[in-house]
Symmetry: C2
Subunit: 392 residues, 2 copies
């Protein structure tokens, strides 16, 4: 499914990057504040949610990233600081200032993120008090930082890979309210390769398009989505083409990890659409399939109700779809030919649908546009988590 041999068995940071994570009282006892820091200034790029109600950290972050230089990222979980007005933006600034003071740099070099419940003011005093002394705790395991930004994630998420003399490290969180439009929930990428901010921005956008932007857990685009790429240059220059190849591979792998850990998810669904009129139409059809509640429940129940695949393709009203040229496969097993459900052994399809990774492939036969989308099944666990998320 992806070239996992590319990634280190245990994730490590690039030269000069470290992190620390603490409980500062936002959650009862779990880590809720994380600091990712570079020993030296890093060139940086970031993409943010396109939601019209961006959180206060996004409003501040768009301003901060214009400088193209970051020393650190500070992120808290439990409260997202969204829909909190002018006071929310002021609190995000105070969070940057507190981290800058702790690290001995300026606030305009700190990217702030908050994730958690919407519409609650940040307990900023707890964060300001909590960040003091974190510099002394900075250490080299990215998983420690990943743990501090978890909300409903069931495990912390970090990856690393080598590119020539340099390292790239991905740390992310996902779970729910995920159909990123510029990036996923919170995703930080660190490298010691040397690139300027403009190049990083271009590389980041190229890597996010086929990976995080093709992920959907529940069609709901978060107000906090942030994906940042920091390059401190300590490993010197590396080949840009090779760097982009590894960057895309890591973003794609992290996308799969986020999909598999979608709220309540038990299966990773990968949808491959080929032969669409254009790449854009392939994208629309792939998203339609991966987002269909009836496809998602079909995978959940391992119920070979394959007509739902056609339904999800067919509801893309504005795409060129020809029933007589449409074929479909589940994990390589053909279930639809020329727009008709094929006769197949139910037990075989049921078995293949029971695998942890379910690949749904649809060949439209009208052009050469391709797309791959990532998602997960729909379970009672999703309902359970989200019927009481605010209160719990």
């Amino acid at each position: 499914m992806s070239d996992t041999s590319l990634f280190h068995a245990t994730p490590v940071f690039p030269r000069g990057f470290r992190c620390a994570s603490r409980n500062v009282g936002l959650k009862p006892s779990a880590r809720d504040l994380t600091l990712f820091a570079s020993d030296v200034d890093a060139a940086a790029a970031a993409v943010f949610t396109r939601n019209h109600f961006p959180g206060a950290p996004i409003i501040l972050g768009r301003e901060t990233i214009k400088g193209g230089v970051l020393r650190a990222v500070i992120a808290n979980s439990k409260v997202s600081n969204v829909a909190t007005g002018a006071r929310g933006v002021e609190n995000a600034r105070r969070m940057a200032t507190a981290a800058a003071a702790e690290l001995g740099t300026s606030a305009d070099r700190i990217l702030v993120s908050s994730t958690g419940v919407i519409g609650v003011q940040l307990p900023i005093e707890k964060i300001e008090a909590g960040v003091v002394g974190m510099t002394a705790e900075l250490q080299g395991d990215p998983m420690v930082g990943a743990e501090g930004i978890m909300t409903t994630d069931t495990h912390p998420k970090a990856l690393s890979a080598s590119v020539g003399p340099a390292t790239i490290t991905w740390v992310a969180k996902g779970s729910g309210m995920i159909e990123p439009n510029m990036a996923t929930m919170l995703s930080y990428i660190f490298t010691d390769a040397a690139f300027d901010a403009a190049t990083l921005d271009r590389l980041l956008r190229a890597a996010v398009a086929p990976s995080f932007n093709m992920l959907s857990v529940d069609t709901d685009t978060s107000t906090s989505d942030t994906c940042a790429l920091l390059a401190n240059g300590l490993a010197g220059a590396v080949d840009e083409t090779e760097f982009l190849r590894v960057l895309i591979a890591g973003c794609t792998r992290m996308t799969q990890i986020l999909a598999r850990d979608g709220e309540g998810a038990e299966h990773l669904i990968r949808v491959e659409v080929t032969g669409a009129l254009t790449a854009q139409e392939a994208h629309v059809v792939a998203k339609s399939i991966v987002n269909s509640p009836l496809v998602k429940t079909m995978v959940h129940g391992a119920d070979p109700n394959v007509g739902r695949l056609l339904m999800a393709v067919g509801k893309c009203f504005d795409c060129t779809i020809r029933p007589d040229t449409t074929d479909a496969w589940i994990n390589g097993f053909q279930v639809v030919g020329h727009g008709e459900r094929l006769a197949f052994d139910d037990a075989v399809v049921r078995t293949t649908l029971s695998q942890e990774v379910v690949v749904l492939r649809v060949a439209l036969g009208v052009g050469s546009g391709d797309a791959i989308a990532y998602g997960c099944d729909f379970t009672k666990g999703y309902i359970e988590e989200n019927a009481s998320y605010y209160s719990s």
Copy 2:
């Protein structure tokens, strides 16, 4: 919520319309074949799904309705006759022919519908044998016909109302795979008012736009959606404006009934959007809210996580949304002002969210476009029904 006094306490048919319903062996014992018939030819109009994989009955129905005249509708449940190729279309024709022979009319005056699982060939012999003798069983209770077209519906659905000397009767089924784009799953409207087919077509489209087309149970557009309006003229001419008013009221009421009986649903959600830049943008925002899994689970759990309302508004990237002019209410209780979550008594909002009907109102403050959409909450019942629909 709607003027229910308009509707008869017990639904009746217009003059000259009757129905019969039988078990012909598609389901173990429940009624699975229904015949709706007019004593005389009726002028008729119909709208069908926009899904690119229309069922065989839709392919045939588009041809049939060109004639503008119907004597009867024959509909079966359990098998939808979708993705069944040329044989499926041939079976739909045989179903029309069988009904025509039973009624002593021609097959081009019979509208055929099938609802149920996709990708399975229709047991046409059972239907051909089963329809024989149904004319003798035609009777005046629309609920009997409604029962025969149920799939996962929890109750049969019929309404009737008077317009001057005429009657309008609605019979429908809904439940899952419902985000109609031209009409809902299966919805038949009968009247003894006299209109020609062209007028009926215009009236039907005007009535469907603000009602069935604003309904979504799960964002999944069925391959079988059909809404037909039959007018046999036995009550003579009626005022067109008054007829349209009642037609819209009945379609809207039936939309609410379908939403409340969405698969697994425990709440009817009505989303009112006002002050959008255009009516089209209001429509997009209303659908975004009513379709958001996180809004739907918030209602299900009566959890006042009102930031999700803003998220769902804000993810309408192409609409004009200004956080500072956006207000929101739940059942008349204001929870968002100027794009910020207001301080409110959790217990009060929790109580109002626990009501069977939950009205979510969002005022965008940027124009005068309005829209109302209908949906239901997302529950474990939906997951349960759809993880094993094919097999059960």
